[in-house]
């Protein structure tokens, strides 16, 4: 049985179609990422899965339960951390966790026990008795995440868990998230960041303008636009056209040209070969290179390849 099964879900807000007949199956266990730009419909989809919103049409089953007709049972088996770190500023870290535990009806002692366990696990034990308002952004995120798994739910939903964190805070949170699924939990997260999806998720679904446009592992998705991006700049603008013609066949798709920066970029299948070839060709043509590098495709480029337009 799939952990989550989305069948033809549509949802509109007034004239805005947030989701258009989305179909998605998420297997049990491991991390699954919903990747897409702002406004793609990720949050709407996760809110439907967590019973916060009702779909206009179609159905969603979470753990085999229907999110509309069995909403109450669904809420008992899931955990959810929304886009904002939902912690009470005037309660201490421990009280925040205990409150959520009690609202899951864990009982006083069990809630207390779990709160302490989670505080240790999240490296917040030292701040357990400080109120939420004294927490840093990263600490708030971790505490919020902690609240979502206080019952050790079998299915966990995280909506953009690392938005607004610095690289260090993000890496810390990634470690926590990876640990969470060791015991067999299914974790669905949304992100705007390709690197995050790649770091964490086995499977990634790309969502854009309310539609699911691609699904697969990170490498499968990147293969669609071919390995890496090779990017170089020429020293003088007059050489740009010659450089483009000389290197055209090295790229697997179209070259993107930025005349202002004198820059040419495009995806290459075999990155090191292409790099060596490029240098030789430009050298032979007497074109001076100002800057050259290989990099991973960005979300924008995966997007460009999949949708034919830039992501917003």
């Amino acid at each position: 049985m799939d952990a989550i099964k989305v069948s033809g879900v549509s949802k509109s807000f007034g004239d805005v179609e947030a989701l258009k007949k989305v179909v998605l199956s998420i297997p049990q266990g491991g991390i699954y990422a919903l990747l897409g730009p702002n406004g793609a419909g990720k949050t709407t989809l996760i809110k439907i899965m967590t019973t916060l919103l009702k779909p206009d049409s179609g159905s969603v089953k979470v753990g085999g339960l229907d999110v509309v007709s069995q909403a109450v049972q669904v809420r008992k088996i899931i955990g959810f951390a929304g886009q904002f770190a939902a912690i009470d500023d005037h309660l201490t870290g421990r009280e925040n966790l205990e409150m959520v535990g009690r609202l899951y009806h864990l009982g006083r002692r069990k809630a207390r026990l779990r709160a302490d366990e989670i505080l240790r696990q999240l490296d917040l034990a030292g701040a357990a008795d400080r109120t939420g308002r004294t927490y840093s952004g990263g600490m708030r995120r971790r505490l919020d995440l902690g609240a979502s798994f206080i019952t050790s739910p079998s299915i966990l939903f995280l909506d953009e868990p690392t938005t607004g964190l610095d690289p260090r805070g993000r890496a810390d949170l990634w470690d926590v998230i990876r640990e969470l699924v060791v015991g067999g939990t299914t974790l669905l997260l949304t992100t705007q960041n390709l690197e995050e999806a790649e770091e964490l998720a086995k499977q990634i679904a790309i969502i854009d303008r309310g539609r699911l446009i691609a699904e697969g592992t990170a490498s499968e998705l990147k293969e669609r636009i071919g390995g890496s991006i090779l990017e170089f700049r020429v020293q003088s603008g007059e050489q740009l056209e010659r450089a483009r013609d000389a290197t055209r066949d090295l790229f697997s798709g179209n070259q993107a040209i930025d005349p202002q920066l004198g820059r040419i970029s495009g995806s290459v299948a075999s990155s090191t070969d292409a790099l060596a070839q490029l240098v030789r060709r430009l050298d032979a043509s007497g074109i001076n290179i100002a800057d050259i590098h290989l990099r991973r495709p960005t979300l924008n480029e995966v997007f460009l390849a999949l949708t034919g337009r830039e992501s917003e």
Partner: protein
């Protein structure tokens, strides 16, 4: 079907959420101090500034006797705005989304919020009565009528909390909600018999002023507190029952429809 277990869980949920909302006052004592000073200030200002100018035509009573029931109503109304501000705050910070994802009743968050506000109002109302007595107010209707008066003003505050909750759930932005609240609260408080006799108002206003819930309730309070009678109490209870039925329904419906 309501079984024993889910009843106990439901009560626990409301208690947990009530205590969560009350902890704010323990953690920021200034909040309680200043929100208590404000009504005391009003009582002092009204009593000493307007007291001399407003001649109360109802017999030989002093202005403080006329004023205190009115001030209690004002405290209850102003206090009810805390319900909408608190809810709007929870909405804007994602707390409501968290609560809605938990296996608790849809009404638990609203019940927890309004119960916390009721307890806070209880504290402020008692404080106001004490200050009023220092200024010369005396309950002349006896102990039980005094208790009934306090219960009535708290019930009034509680029913207005539900109006406030409905507004908070629709407006959603804490600052906007505060401004929006005064638009409906000021006319109700001042175009009433809370501070001046309705008979002194222009006749087109009297029809509204004499029958709106603040006047009806403040008249009931005066009857209980000063003369130990129960005039207007039935009408006041009718108003509150109506407000509770309508606005609990509207607030819970708005809460369910949050997107």
């Amino acid at each position: 079907m309501l079984d024993w277990n889910s009843l106990v869980n439901g009560i626990t949920d409301v208690l947990m959420l009530t205590s969560r909302n009350l902890k704010r006052y323990v953690r920021i004592p200034q909040l309680l101090v200043f929100s208590s000073i404000q009504p005391v200030m009003f009582l002092l200002l009204f009593n000493y500034v307007f007291g001399g100018a407003i001649r109360v035509s109802t017999g030989s009573h002093s202005y403080i006797e006329f004023l205190l029931p009115g001030i209690l109503m004002q405290v209850a109304m102003f206090g009810s705005t805390a319900t909408s501000v608190g809810l709007a705050d929870d909405l804007s910070k994602g707390m409501v989304d968290r609560f809605r994802s938990l296996p608790i009743a849809r009404s638990a968050v609203l019940a927890g919020r309004t119960t916390a506000d009721l307890l806070r109002n209880f504290f402020v109302v008692v404080l106001m009565v004490v200050v009023g007595m220092v200024l010369g107010f005396r309950f002349q209707g006896g102990f039980f009528h005094a208790l009934a008066a306090l219960a009535l003003v708290l019930l009034f505050a509680y029913s207005f909390s539900w109006i406030s909750a409905t507004i908070g759930l629709h407006v959603r932005d804490p600052e906007t909600v505060q401004i929006a609240s005064f638009i409906w609260i000021f006319p109700l408080v001042f175009a009433s018999g809370a501070f001046v006799p309705v008979a002194t108002m222009p006749s087109w206003l009297q029809d509204f002023a004499a029958n709106q819930p603040v006047t009806v309730t403040v008249d009931a309070l005066r009857s209980l507190m000063i003369s130990g009678q129960t005039y207007h109490v039935g009408r006041a209870l009718l108003w509150m029952a109506g407000i509770l039925v309508v606005f609990i329904f509207l607030a819970v419906r708005a809460y369910k429809r949050i997107s």
